[in-house]
């Protein structure tokens, strides 16, 4: 009887904690969403108006027509896809090599590549900026794609290697016996089996490129090459104090990613955990 009572207390506290975390997680986003739907005069009230009634979409309309958000969104899409293609192609080959082959210096090389994730980004960004200017690559999509791909290489390698490790060698050997070349086995047997891994890696790369501010603000300067987060930051800087507009911009840039996350959760989490949990 006593045990049940104790259990009840712990459960209550546990649920209370979950409730607090839930509120913590959701409030900034919810408040932003509500703000974006309120009339301008209702935004600057005290006490704050909790519900966006009357509701308006004028901020969204203003942002979509009065700013370059759509252009930046498009740019971001281009760069993200480019980065995914480059980093996945390079990464899958590298991961295959590190998983299936044994050669001299392999461990040192792999360690070296993974170690770059420990290098402070901003320290590298300064010389990268200068180099890109000197090489006439400043303010181009190419420089963005190259830098993002190099940046994400450790993550991509880590994830894909984890997935390849889990594909039994016997599969490739069977194909080899059936007359496939070694490379053929890789492209025709291993790669298709890697689809979930490639998907997980692609998603993580996409989120990184979508959310980046630092690299894109340093490497680009013109509107035609600008990315979403930089666009958002400049919008806020350019428009004084217009929180309705700012929050609309925020919501437009964020809600697609949240939706994608909720839909593809499993792939996200698989990607995150495939490398770090040693099984």
């Amino acid at each position: 009887m006593r045990r049940k009572k104790k259990h009840g207390w712990i459960k209550l506290l546990g649920n209370l904690y979950l409730g607090i975390v839930l509120i913590f997680a959701v409030s900034p986003l919810l408040w932003g969403l509500i703000t974006s739907l309120k009339l301008s005069k209702d935004i600057i009230t005290f006490p704050p108006k909790w519900l966006p009634i009357p509701m308006t979409f004028e901020h969204y309309a203003a942002v979509l027509t009065g700013s370059k958000l759509l252009l930046y969104l498009w740019n971001n899409l281009i760069v993200a896809v480019g980065t995914i293609i480059l980093s996945l192609v390079i990464g899958v080959h590298g991961a295959y090599a590190t998983s299936r082959f044994n050669f001299k210096f392999k461990n040192i090389i792999v360690f070296g590549i993974l170690a770059t994730s420990m290098v402070p980004g901003i320290s590298i960004l300064v010389p990268l900026y200068l180099s890109s200017v000197k090489m006439n690559l400043h303010d181009t999509f190419i420089s963005l794609i190259l830098v993002y791909s190099a940046w994400q290489m450790p993550t991509v390698l880590w994830i894909l290697r984890g997935f390849i490790d889990r594909i039994p060698r016997e599969l490739e050997e069977a194909a080899y016996i059936d007359g496939c070349s070694r490379l053929g086995a890789f492209y025709r047997i291993t790669m298709p089996a890697l689809r979930p891994g490639l998907g997980a890696a692609a998603i993580l790369v996409f989120v990184f490129v979508w959310n980046d501010w630092l690299i894109s603000s340093v490497l680009t300067i013109s509107d035609s090459k600008r990315l979403l987060q930089v666009g958002l930051y400049r919008y806020v800087g350019d428009y004084g104090v217009e929180w309705g507009r700012f929050m609309a911009y925020v919501m437009i840039s964020t809600i697609p990613i949240i939706a994608a996350f909720l839909a593809l959760q499993r792939a996200f989490i698989q990607g995150l955990t495939s490398g770090s949990v040693k099984g």
Binding site: Y17, G94, I122, L125, P127, L146, W151, L262, L272, V277
Partner: protein, 290 residues
């Protein structure tokens, strides 16, 4: 017939593009950074060689000490909030009675992870707004105080830490949760049979299993926090009175706002060295534990 994977050349070939990419984009700039740091620079032009002059000047400066302390405050503060929060959350989410409900809750609780630092910064600046924000509504109704969090030299850092925790706890939670899910349930039952309680379960079953993941999470978060720029730049820009100017932000400001390339590179190199030192000492600590 065994597939021969002894071909050194194929292995190297497959790995070569990755090596090249990382060498050019990650390693080479490090050398450049060190190169700049030992020269005088005028805006973006390299001047004469000054050896360790820049370093000596930097290490003597008060601002540098401030940067270092701020970085320590930020990293340690964020770790102190994030790790216990995530650990507790992971344990609760793993207690798995109402599976569906937990899955739904978990989805929502993980959302901050996909929010960019820029958006996070803006959302928190707005929610903390001294005139119209809900947080100030609470402080004014309960304590009759209007608090301008980000303008306060004392409170700004705390606020940054909270915003950072908001952004970071989902990742830590996912990593710990994944490790928790690998613990065989029979072990818990065994402890129960032996008369153990929740604490014994945690100490003798849970902790040994997740210790490795906890370490990995800890090191990942530390590196991530120490090198973070965007969130702090967006929320405070380093102020007020440089009280939130952490080292990573200093590098950015020196390079791109004050155009002092040599100084930026010097701080950058120091930051790099600290990162390396931390990584080395931490892996040493890990080895000792085993």
């Amino acid at each position: 017939m065994r597939l021969s994977f002894n071909n050194q050349s194929v292995g190297y070939l497959f790995l070569l593009p990755a090596i090249l990419l990382v060498l050019v984009v990650a390693f080479y700039p490090i050398f450049l950074s060190v190169y700049y740091s030992v020269h005088e620079t005028y805006y973006m032009n390299i001047g004469e060689f000054v050896g360790l002059g820049n370093y000596l000047e930097l290490l003597k400066s008060e601002q540098f000490i401030k940067n270092l302390i701020n970085s320590l405050k930020y990293v340690i503060g964020s770790l102190l909030l994030t790790i216990p929060m995530s650990l507790l959350l992971a344990l609760l989410l793993n207690s798995g009675e109402n599976r569906k409900m937990l899955y739904f809750l978990r989805s929502i609780m993980l959302i901050p992870w996909v929010i960019s630092q820029t958006v996070t910064g803006l959302l928190w600046v707005w929610i903390l707004d001294p005139k119209f924000g809900p947080v100030n509504y609470i402080t004014r109704t309960l304590f009759n105080e209007q608090i301008s969090f980000l303008a306060s030299p004392d409170l700004a850092m705390w606020v940054l830490i909270v915003a950072n925790t908001w952004m970071s706890y989902p990742l830590a939670t996912v990593l710990i949760l994944a490790a928790l899910q690998m613990v065989p349930p029979e072990l818990y039952e065994a402890v129960e049979i032996d008369g153990g309680n929740a604490w014994t379960k945690f100490r003798s079953v849970t902790y040994p299993f997740i210790a490795n993941s906890l370490s990995v999470t800890f090191i990942m978060l530390t590196v991530h926090f120490f090198n973070m720029v965007t969130l702090i730049y967006v929320m405070t820009g380093g102020g007020p009175l440089q009280m939130t100017e952490v080292m990573s932000l200093r590098i950015y400001l020196e390079a791109f706002e004050y155009q002092r390339l040599a100084l930026a590179s010097t701080v950058g190199t120091v930051s790099l060295i600290l990162n390396i030192l931390f990584a080395i000492s931490y892996t040493k600590l890990l080895r000792n534990d085993f």
